[in-house]
């Protein structure tokens, strides 16, 4: 009680010195705010980086030249589907198709001519077909784009082909499907008869004429899951022709890449012979990695500098306190001669400086709050760190000053 009151009175009596201490504390607190605030902002930016910068990835052939028209094993697709590191995956499978029922024995002649079948595309979502926008498709009542995520025998047909084939949306038509193989592992396609299937037309799409289109305009679009179901029923292999996705946990990029390696995906080798097998992984992570690395470097630099900074704050506390207290040595000697114990001396002066330091901190907080919004946690962290570091310096100065011999100081005065 006496200590606190005395400390307050002393602080008031040594007005100029007190103001100096308060100002010093205020400046240090402001500096710490800017520093730790910057550190926090960087950490927050790193945390939010995945939302700010997405990392797209796709499957390609080993040479990295293809993005569609490949043969991607179903196990790879399954691995992608099940991975925790992946969000928003899209994959497609190309097929040949013909309107009406064409029995298998009629096909060999057509094959020899290597005729171009109308192309159709299995998609796991409408947007997997990148060339087509949702506005380009009109669905019949009771059906919507989510039908393409099912494994039902439904399809969307181009307007032009509806007219050409004289069919209507809502009809159920027979389609003869042909799967595609690349017998020489080059771009030359071979169509193989697969079967005749009744399919319901649930919508129509506009013809797409885009100079930069990824593939030829598809005449029929259907759910790729249905195709997978058919393959399983026929006990034949299913291949996707394209797959792309977004990485859900960009900060765990390396774990993701390890998982992809386990799926058998390799890095692109640009010297490799262009082939059709989709066995390579292309991750467009340069932007993200650059930004993340820069942030991480900043953060670790600032963090590693932190202890040093606190030591400097402590040193400032020591020097300021030492200089200001040094001239008051005779005062302490008189205090001691009047029977104030060493401990009480320490406590009284520590309180005096603690009050000044806190006042300075408050002013610093107010100054910062005037210019930017403050969080309680940041304020608590800054004030605590400052107070501990600075008061450690003050305490050290007090311990050093308190070690004088009262006799010597008093006799030196006489």
């Amino acid at each position: 009680m006496f200590a606190i009151r005395n400390a307050l009175l002393n602080a008031k009596r040594h007005k100029l010195k007190s103001i100096l201490v308060i100002l010093a504390c205020m400046l240090i607190v402001i500096f710490l705010f800017l520093y730790i605030g910057g550190l926090e902002a960087n950490s927050r930016m790193l945390e939010n980086l995945p939302e700010a910068i997405t990392i797209p990835a796709r499957i390609s052939n080993l040479s990295g030249t293809l993005s569609t028209g490949m043969m991607i094993k179903e196990s790879v697709i399954k691995g992608i589907e099940e991975s925790d590191y992946i969000a928003d995956y899209f994959y497609t499978a190309e097929l040949g198709a013909a309107l009406g029922a064409i029995p298998e024995d009629k096909v060999s002649e057509m094959e020899q001519g290597r005729m171009n079948f109308p192309l159709c595309l299995g998609v796991n979502r409408l947007s997997a077909y990148t060339d087509l926008n949702e506005e380009d498709v009109t669905f019949i009542d009771g059906y919507g784009p989510e039908m393409l995520e099912s494994d039902e025998p439904v399809c969307i047909v181009r307007d032009r082909d509806l007219a050409l084939w004289q069919i209507n949306t809502g009809d159920t038509i027979d389609l003869t499907l042909f799967y595609i193989i690349y017998p020489n592992d080059n771009a030359v396609k071979d169509f193989r008869w697969m079967g005749i299937y009744p399919v319901k037309i649930i919508g129509s799409s506009r013809d797409i004429v885009k100079p930069d289109a990824e593939r030829r305009s598809m005449q029929v679009i259907f759910p790729v899951k249905w195709l997978q179901k058919l393959s399983h029923q026929r006990e034949t292999m299913f291949f996707a022709d394209a797959a792309r996705f977004r990485i859900a946990k960009p900060l765990e990029l390396n774990a993701f890449k390890d998982e992809m390696k386990e799926l058998g995906l390799m890095s692109v080798i640009s010297q490799a012979k262009p082939a059709q097998r989709g066995i390579a992984l292309i991750v467009s992570d340069e932007t993200f990695i650059k930004a993340a690395t820069r942030l991480k470097e900043n953060i670790s630099l600032m963090k590693s500098f932190m202890p040093f900074l606190l030591i400097v704050v402590g040193l400032v506390g020591f020097v300021v306190s030492y200089l200001l207290l040094h001239s008051r040595k005779p005062e302490f000697a008189v205090m001691r001669s009047l029977g104030v114990s060493k401990k009480s001396c320490f406590i009284i002066l520590f309180f005096e400086y603690a009050i000044l330091d806190l006042a300075g901190s408050c002013l610093g907080v107010l100054a910062i709050a005037a210019f930017s919004s403050l969080t309680v946690s940041l304020t608590a962290v800054v004030v605590t760190l400052f107070f501990c570091a600075y008061m450690a310096g003050t305490a050290a100065a007090l311990v050093m000053l308190n070690r004088f011999s009262v006799m010597e100081v008093l006799s030196a005065l006489d």
Binding site: F2, V334, L338, V340, L413, D414
Partner: protein
């Protein structure tokens, strides 16, 4: 029993380069109700002995007994708060406290109520012969004699039994000197204090009940009563 007894006390200042034996094998007794003077040439160890009596440090040899109890076994801070007070030639007072606050300081250390402390302080200032106008003055505005008397008032306010003064009249003119010596005599004879005064001044020594003379750290009794 003597209030303070000094038994074969020696004190050595130990510094990095040399050690100085300031007090050598001193033995003497001090009784309550008496005014003692300690004289001797400069550097003879008077201040050192006084500081030891004030418990500011312990003797390097021998011992000092306070009412029969060894100083070494006492809480010496408490001894200075409650029993013994020291007055120096200069810088006795806290420069940033008023006279009244200076006198109140030891009482605040003892945790007395503020109103009580003010009352006692006013009484003590009166006893050392100072008036109301001194209360709110800071030491820098007071004369040397006034400062010395405020210092004595402060020494008395804790209600101790021993007053130790190191050249209390060194900075005073003869009129003030007489006042202060008279005050010390009164304290010893009327209020039963043990008063020990270090002085170069033959007049002050004359007024004492007993005079000890020091030379090269050793004590020579004069035995004059």
């Amino acid at each position: 029993m003597s209030m303070l007894s000094v038994r074969g006390v020696g004190y050595i200042y130990q510094s990095k380069y040399q050690s100085i034996e300031a007090v050598k094998n001193v033995s003497c007794d001090f009784h309550s109700g008496k005014l003692y003077a300690v004289t001797g040439p400069s550097g003879s160890g008077k201040s050192t002995l006084l500081s030891l009596l004030a418990g500011l440090d312990l003797p390097t040899s021998g011992e000092i007994l306070v009412e029969g109890k060894s100083m070494a076994s006492l809480d010496r801070d408490r001894y200075r708060r409650e029993i013994a007070s020291v007055v120096y030639q200069s810088f006795n007072l806290f420069p940033l406290l008023t006279a009244l606050e200076n006198v109140m300081y030891p009482m605040e250390l003892l945790g007395k109520k503020k109103s009580e402390a003010v009352e006692t302080a006013i009484q003590m200032i009166g006893e050392v012969g100072l008036g109301e106008k001194i209360y709110q003055q800071f030491p820098i505005m007071m004369s040397g004699g006034e400062q010395q008397r405020v210092a004595i008032a402060r020494a008395l306010s804790a209600g101790g039994k021993i007053l130790l003064a190191d050249e209390p009249t060194g900075n005073l003119d003869s009129a003030n000197e007489e006042n202060v010596v008279e005050l010390l005599r009164t304290l010893a004879h009327k209020q039963g204090f043990l008063v020990i005064v270090i002085t170069h001044n033959p007049y002050v020594a004359e007024q004492a009940d007993e005079v000890y003379r020091m030379r090269d750290g050793e004590l020579q009794t004069d035995g004059r009563v």
